[in-house]
């Protein structure tokens, strides 16, 4: 079996020799016809089986593609959820800091700044204005804190990804050098 169509080639060669030598009989032609019929029947069955298996592979490929699309969509949703979770955690952290700062400012204003202003300036509305400015300032302070924490968390993620990439590269280089050494040996 030097080729996939060895049997078919042998039949053809054999009959070609008979034609060249003009030595074929009526029985030879009938035998050739029968062999041709047998080979055709075989080819038909092979095609039928191949088509069936090909269809099965095609169905499997379609299912894999659908699953892949589903995974991509779920991954996007997961990333979105993780992003929201990170923002929520960062917001909570910023709120805690801001709440502490507010209490400190309120206490210091009530104990020191308020009485001092009342003593030196004597205008009650000035204290109200100051309180308003502090409240607006605190809101901006919260936003600044949130931005700082978000960017810090993102930097941490990027650092982690880069570390993983470096590790993968190192493994690849090690693997390549080991395979080179083994092939050289």
């Amino acid at each position: 079996m030097s080729s996939l169509f060895q049997d078919e080639n042998d039949i053809l060669e054999d009959f070609q020799k008979k034609i060249d030598n003009k030595s074929y009989t009526h029985e030879d032609i009938i035998a050739f016809k029968e062999q041709f019929e047998s080979q055709t029947a075989e080819s038909q069955v092979m095609l039928k089986i191949s088509d069936r298996l090909q269809k099965r592979l095609d169905t499997a490929n379609t299912k894999i593609k659908e699953k892949n699309d589903e995974i991509v969509t779920k991954n996007e949703k997961l990333n979105e959820a993780l992003d929201n979770l990170m923002k929520a955690r960062v917001g909570k952290k910023a709120s805690t800091i801001m709440f502490t700062a507010t209490i400190l400012l309120f206490v210091s204003e009530e104990l020191y700044v308020g009485p001092l202003l009342e003593y030196f300036v004597g205008y009650a509305y000035l204290i109200l204005i100051l309180k308003g400015v502090v409240a607006i300032g605190l809101k901006s302070f919260e936003s600044v804190l949130e931005n700082i924490f978000v960017s810090s968390a993102k930097k941490e993620i990027v650092k982690e990804v880069r570390r993983e990439q470096r590790q993968t590269k190192t493994y690849d280089i090690l693997e390549k050098s080991m395979s080179k050494q083994s092939s050289a040996a």
Binding site: S3, V45, M46, R52, L53, R56
Partner: protein, 130 residues
């Protein structure tokens, strides 16, 4: 004659023929780059087998997948074994194993059985082919 043993790979099936019991096992996946080269060794082995010490043969086929070239080679081998068995007056039994619910593989076995003009025994799992 020594047993024939070919370890499986991701592209080629497990092949084992026990010359004492006359059981040939062919299982796994078959989609080698060159099916002719892979199955040539089986073809030559069985040519020798029927020349030297022909006995009854039982073939257990449990394939999950095979490409078209492998199908042609497997068919040629089965036909060669059938011709050898007929000439040597030896019995030939073919057991076709397929995974449960794998109607395609069952129909494939039925088609090959009809083409070879041999009755196959069909089993709907891989029990019995170890």
């Amino acid at each position: 004659m020594e047993n024939l043993s070919i370890e499986p790979s991701s592209l080629t099936p497990y092949v084992f023929f026990d010359t004492q019991t006359g059981i040939l096992e062919l299982k796994g996946r078959s989609s080698p780059d060159n099916a002719v080269i892979f199955y040539e060794q089986l073809m030559s082995f069985f040519d020798k087998y029927y020349e030297l010490d022909p006995r009854d043969i039982t073939i257990n086929v449990g394939l999950e997948y095979f490409n078209t070239s492998s199908l042609k080679c497997i068919f040629q081998i089965l036909r060669r074994i059938k011709d050898g068995a007929d000439k040597s007056a030896c019995a030939l039994e073919i057991n076709w194993f397929y995974e449960e619910d794998d109607e395609d593989m069952l129909e494939t076995g039925e088609d090959i059985s009809a083409l070879l003009d041999i009755e196959f025994n069909f089993y709907s799992d891989s029990v019995g082919i170890s």
